[in-house]
């Protein structure tokens, strides 16, 4: 496989052999370790020195199911630290089958210049002038590019928010139907892409480059066993196809952990109007799709297609985090408005989560009433238009808080929280505070251990045991995001036999012995590089804290605050820091 380096300053492309140190890496390990090696930590995130790296997972392109993840990495303009955000769709698989291990975007296009990068078979990559496409929304853009270049293209692009370099700008990528509805949403990486002067990657989906596997038979056997386990599991085999991630709405609310009205409560009165069960019923009644395949190599089909009463397409896929961010968090119980906001964010190229939290802070500060979906839609439209208020919303919750002098800003390292209140699920307090990524749920999702088995194997409302489970999950997830395995296909590795299949595949592909220790070391190596970068970028332990509201305001209905101490937070990754 090869690296494709693109210099936007000199408008040149270069193919490079993969250096030995990167050979067994992929996904998040590749983006994070390479950024730590190549980007000065003090670089301006939207400047020439920053690099934007797109890397398929280590298993992407192989026969293993649910490995169509693309890691996107850079120094984040939102957090000021390192960032990896990953996305499904078709792009990762397509890049891998073109023999590309990573695309590295360097430099910055000259003022006024804008480009698309067209990547085709046989090492052909061309920067194409795209000045006229600047400002275009993603649905119109992808349609135009597919008309021009054919529909067998995967398109990964930014919308007006990325063009405006807003700090909540996402990078959108097309699904199997060619819609730009899959998002590398977090960390404002769309702004980095806009700053580089890159509107879109156009990637040929018909690559046939074989993925090198040292022991094909052994790999195949383990990959089949893995797929069987994912199919057999109730969550990935039955629940996700029926409800998608929206199935989480009711139980998280029942746990009092559904952040409502800018996290003033852990339960939302309108929950049954926006639950996964309601969403699935509405979609079925209207003739939409509750089960939909969004990504290459997927056998779970957790995606859906939400439609209007008349059956017209609104958005794909309506997910738990967005239902929360554009629903409970802003006090909105109108599912149609949530779907509309989801579409708008995809079309404009905004992270639904950071944008929803930004709206929640604005509403909390009195800009509009909680539940005012029309105001939410108007403000998101303003972000696309680049009005003053629109830019404030599009720059995220921190910018909104500063503008209104409002001190209830639920962010860590500048990034808006996710859909689990850290007071009601204290393990998520540890993950939000300590992941190098800023408040992020996928970095270390410990909700199951806090709630399942009739009330959790740890007490969700107490600090005891939370650091350990968050640490272990974060290290595990750093390895999962390196392998490129979809979060929802983790049922395949949830058992001892399952994770053994993954080790077998790591070994069969690389030709090296691989076991639990190697897996843990891989995850630790990734986080260590990220922590090192963040330290050099100026982030300190004080940045590994939650905002005061979570320590000072008891959250109804449990009326608890975060109890994990600063010393406990620091103990999570002290052993991976250079200075410990």
């Amino acid at each position: 496989m090869q690296f494709l380096r693109v210099n936007m300053s000199t408008e040149s492309v270069q193919w490079e052999n993969v250096a030995e140190e990167y050979a067994i890496l992929g996904g998040r390990a590749l983006t994070s370790i390479m950024i730590n090696n190549e980007v000065p930590a003090t670089a301006a995130p939207l400047g020439e020195e920053n690099k934007l790296i797109f890397a398929p997972g280590y298993f992407t392109g192989t026969s293993l199911i649910n490995t169509g993840r693309l890691s996107v990495g850079a120094k984040s303009p939102l957090t000021g630290g390192i960032k990896e955000s990953n996305v499904g769709g078709t792009v990762a698989y397509s890049l891998a089958r073109l023999g590309i291990k990573a695309v590295i975007i360097e430099g910055k296009a000259a003022a006024g210049k804008y480009f698309c990068l067209n990547i085709e078979a046989e090492n052909r990559a061309t920067l194409i002038s795209a000045d006229a496409l600047k400002g275009m929304r993603t649905y119109a853009l992808t349609k135009k590019l597919q008309e021009q270049y054919g529909d067998r293209k995967s398109i990964t692009c930014i919308g007006p928010a990325g063009d405006l370099q807003l700090l909540s700008a996402s990078i959108q990528s097309t699904d199997l139907d060619g819609r730009p509805c899959r998002a590398a949403g977090r960390g404002g990486l769309g702004a980095v892409m806009g700053a580089k002067g890159l509107k879109a990657l156009i990637v040929d989906r018909q690559g046939k480059t074989p993925i090198e596997i040292a022991d094909q038979d052994r790999f195949q056997k383990a990959s089949s066993a893995y797929a069987k386990a994912v199919r057999a599991d109730e969550f990935s085999g039955q629940i996700l196809p029926e409800f998608g991630t929206a199935v989480l709405v009711e139980p998280i609310n029942a746990a009092g952990a559904f952040p409502t009205k800018n996290a003033r409560s852990g339960q939302f009165a309108g929950i049954d109007k926006i639950s996964g069960e309601t969403m699935a019923r509405v979609i079925r009644e209207r003739g939409g799709k509750t089960q939909h395949k969004g990504c290459s190599q997927c056998i779970i089909d957790c995606s859906n297609e939400f439609v209007t009463e008349k059956g017209d397409y609104v958005t794909s896929s309506l997910e738990y985090e967005t239902i929360w961010a554009m629903g409970g968090m802003i006090g909105n119980d109108n599912l149609d408005a949530i779907a509309r906001l989801d579409f708008l964010c995809d079309d404009i190229g905004l992270d639904t989560m950071n944008t929803g939290v930004a709206l929640a802070v604005a509403f909390d500060a009195g800009y509009a009433s909680f539940g005012d979906a029309d105001a939410a839609i108007r403000l998101v439209e303003e972000a696309a238009a680049g009005t003053e208020m629109g830019r404030i919303i599009g720059n995220g919750p921190g910018a909104v808080g500063k503008h209104f002098h409002h001190d209830r800003i639920p962010t860590v390292k500048g990034q808006g929280m996710a859909a689990y209140d850290p007071r009601a699920i204290q393990g998520m307090a540890v993950t939000y505070a300590t992941t190098p990524m800023g408040a992020d749920h996928t970095a270390g999702w410990v909700v199951d251990k806090n709630l399942e088995a009739f009330g959790g194997t740890v007490n969700a409302l107490e600090a005891a045991g939370q650091v350990e489970i968050s640490r272990n999950t974060q290290i595990h997830m750093a390895a999962v995001d390196t392998a490129g395995i979809c979060d929802f296909a983790q049922s395949g590795l949830a058992t001892a036999e399952g994770i053994e299949n993954v080790f077998t595949m790591m070994s069969a592909k690389s030709g090296q012995a691989f076991g639990q220790n190697d897996w843990t070391e891989l995850g630790q190596r990734v986080i260590k590089a990220e922590l090192a970068f963040n330290k050099m970028a100026g982030l300190t332990r004080e940045d590994d804290r939650l905002p005061p509201m979570f320590y000072n305001e008891p959250l109804p209905p449990h009326n608890v605050v975060v109890k994990v101490s600063a010393a406990e937070m620091d103990s999570t990754f002290n052993f991976l820091r250079n200075d410990s």
């Binding site: 199935v247 069960e277 399942e452 209905p557």
Partner: protein, 79 residues
């Protein structure tokens, strides 16, 4: 005494037609616990991971109060 039991996710599919959206009224004796109820309705234990009593997370040994609304949820995976 009676309680109202609602099943979520794909749990109702295990009992086609039995659980209306408004829930199933179940007669129970005093001091019935969450664990007793799971056994009583004969749901495989591994299918029920989270239980709420009147909107609050419950533990296996919690006793069901009269007239309570009980919700059963399945195991979850990441967000």
């Amino acid at each position: 005494m009676k309680i109202r039991l609602k099943l979520y996710g794909t749990l109702p599919a295990h009992y086609p037609g039995l659980y209306p959206d408004s829930g199933l009224i179940v007669d129970i004796s005093e001091n019935t616990t969450v664990a007793d109820l799971v056994e009583r309705v004969k749901l495989p234990q591994e299918h029920v991971a989270i239980v709420a009593i009147n909107g609050m997370l419950a533990k296996a040994e919690d006793v069901l109060p009269e007239g309570a609304e009980i919700k059963f949820f399945q195991p979850l995976n990441g967000g």
